[in-house]
Symmetry: C2
Subunit: 359 residues, 2 copies
């Protein structure tokens, strides 16, 4: 057992609807469900009956499966934060009263960035185990389709190295940069104009998950709660926001080898810029011939929903990578077997219900 | 072990600030914290560090303590629903996007009643255990200071028997009726005008907890999930709303002997009117000389936060009442020992924080 609590900050941004920038869901409609279903998978091992199984357009299952696989082995605590979900989730959440984020090509995609940040900051000390043992630790993670594009927006606005990874095997970085340029123009910003003003960076170029996650890091720093950033370039953007908010404590970043080795995103350089201690976990998925794991080995999905942090925890607690892989295969097979029905229900969810005895 | 899941719908109404109608918190400011802290007590056995301990003006602790005492013995599942909390809670909640309710002496205290009802209705099938076993059961409970007054408002608007119990030993029924009369006048209603229109009854005379709880009962009925109404006259008002929405299945109401024996509230007659199978649990608090339990024996608090339902569950599962009493004493002593500090922090919570490294 471990004292670590995984905190997954989940939300949405209309930026994810831009063609070709996200693989976190098979299409834009299903992508709106992805963060809600990701929470359900980490909480219960499967999506709720009415949620679709999040898969990429090529069928690669969400990294929430890997996080859940480790949780099945280690039993760590899990807290979900609703930072702008577009679709209800069956998982109980801590609330920061965030709306879904707007498209960053418009002027203020997160008008409530400051309020979201402050509520998350106040919440931070209560996210770990109830008694906040001195050795309590938060693993802070995200799920938000389109999140690497908003992360790029924030890094650019802050004047940090403008490089991010992708859930697609081929990182559409040029497309993301064009989106960010449109966003800067709409907000009347030049790169670096929001340096030292993280709230402005998120309000004008970010998403509600970044606002909440940055608030958690700042609030945890104020109260001496240890935080590990469990993710890739999106969590690096969270770290950048915290640094620009004045946090100067040690910040570990635990990600996957898939992100760390992504040649299009020089995460090591970004970590050095931001003084983050970087670790990258390799689950050995290339040793498996299961389709889910070969998709990761091909460079799909890569990270998210705390996958890298969970793998680091498994490693620290002595869980063999082969055990994790076996569990990933089992969960994936179950999800995909159940997939057809749930997806059909989700896409039909806007149709009128049958009567029943409603008023 | 039991397959029952306790669902506590928690919220607030400005009606609770009316002088002399609620004992669910020592004063109106602290009363705004009561539902948030009640959830924390059921979830964790104590309020979060920044929450006050809910006690009546005379020092009687919240019925959440009794519910938690039973949960310590039986380990049943617990789901919290945020139906208009005024203060953040450290307990993860299912959301129905409800704002705190307004004062029922104004025209539309719950303008979003229909949307809240519909979201709760859609959520109902996912509230029990993940797999919705055929023998899964929901115990539906509430925590909302001022809730018996809004319940009286709804019963009156529906044309049902206008009788409710109270968290005060001396039920201020005349005062509640005057409040309801003001509310009817403000909404242009005569008693019974909202018969057959439960949404209108809640929107004009109710609170957001009633809207959500009624939605859960209707949604559960549609999907064949068993529901026990775990509470007193407020849950009877929920039953009335469900009946006026057309629900005609069996609806058990499990409350405490303190409510069932309240001579000012003829719950048995109300249960007969609404075709509810009524059970009343007697925890034998008069056999204890612990101050918390003697307060209940004197008629304070009486019910709430699922107390009656939890006691019925304890009885069904063979937990001796003496065990429950012992656990109530232990939890109460711990809470009251910790009370001074937390209450001071809560009442000082609006003061500016110290700097730290915030932006």
């Amino acid at each position: 057992m471990t004292d670590a609590t995984l905190v997954v900050v989940a939300g949405t941004t209309e930026t994810a609807a831009i063609d070709g920038i996200s693989a976190a869901g098979a299409d834009p409609t299903l992508r709106r469900h992805t963060p809600s279903a990701d929470l359900e998978i980490v909480a219960d091992g499967r999506p709720a009956p009415d949620s679709p199984v999040p898969v990429s357009p090529s069928g690669c299952p969400t990294p929430a499966v890997v996080t859940r696989a480790v949780r099945d082995r280690l039993g760590f605590e899990f807290v979900a934060v609703d930072a702008g979900l577009a679709v209800p989730t069956a998982t109980p959440t801590r609330a920061v009263d965030a709306d879904p984020g707007g498209d960053i090509r418009e002027a203020d995609p997160v008008p409530d960035a400051e309020a979201i940040f402050e509520r998350a900051r106040a919440m931070a000390p209560t996210l770990g185990s109830g008694d906040v043992a001195p050795d309590a630790e938060i693993l802070l993670a995200e799920t938000i389709p389109g999140g690497t594009t908003t992360a790029l927006g924030v890094l650019t606005a802050l004047g940090e190295r403008p490089i991010v990874s992708s859930s697609l095997a081929a990182n559409p970085l040029a497309r993301k940069r064009a989106v960010v340029e449109d966003g800067l123009a709409a907000s009347g910003l030049d790169p670096g104009d929001a340096a030292g003003d993280p709230i402005a960076a998120v309000r004008q170029m970010g998403d509600p998950v970044l606002a909440a996650a940055a608030g958690v890091v700042v609030g945890a720093a104020e109260r001496g709660v240890r935080v590990t950033l469990a993710g890739g370039t999106q969590l690096a953007a969270v770290a950048a926001l915290a640094r620009h908010a004045g946090v100067d404590r040690r910040l570990p970043l635990a990600t996957t080898a898939f992100v760390a080795d992504d040649p299009t995103a020089d995460l090591a350089a970004l970590a050095t810029d931001l003084d983050l201690s970087l670790t990258a976990a390799d689950p050995g998925f290339d040793e498996s011939d299961h389709p889910a794991m070969t998709a990761y080995a091909r460079g799909e999905a890569k990270e998210g929903v705390g996958m890298g942090g969970a793998l680091a925890l498994a490693d620290r607690e002595g869980v063999p990578a082969a055990d994790v892989r076996e569990r990933v295969a089992t969960i994936t097979d179950r999800l995909l077997a159940e997939r057809g029905d749930a997806t059909a229900r989700a896409t039909g969810a806007t149709e009128p219900r049958d009567g029943g005895d409603s008023p």
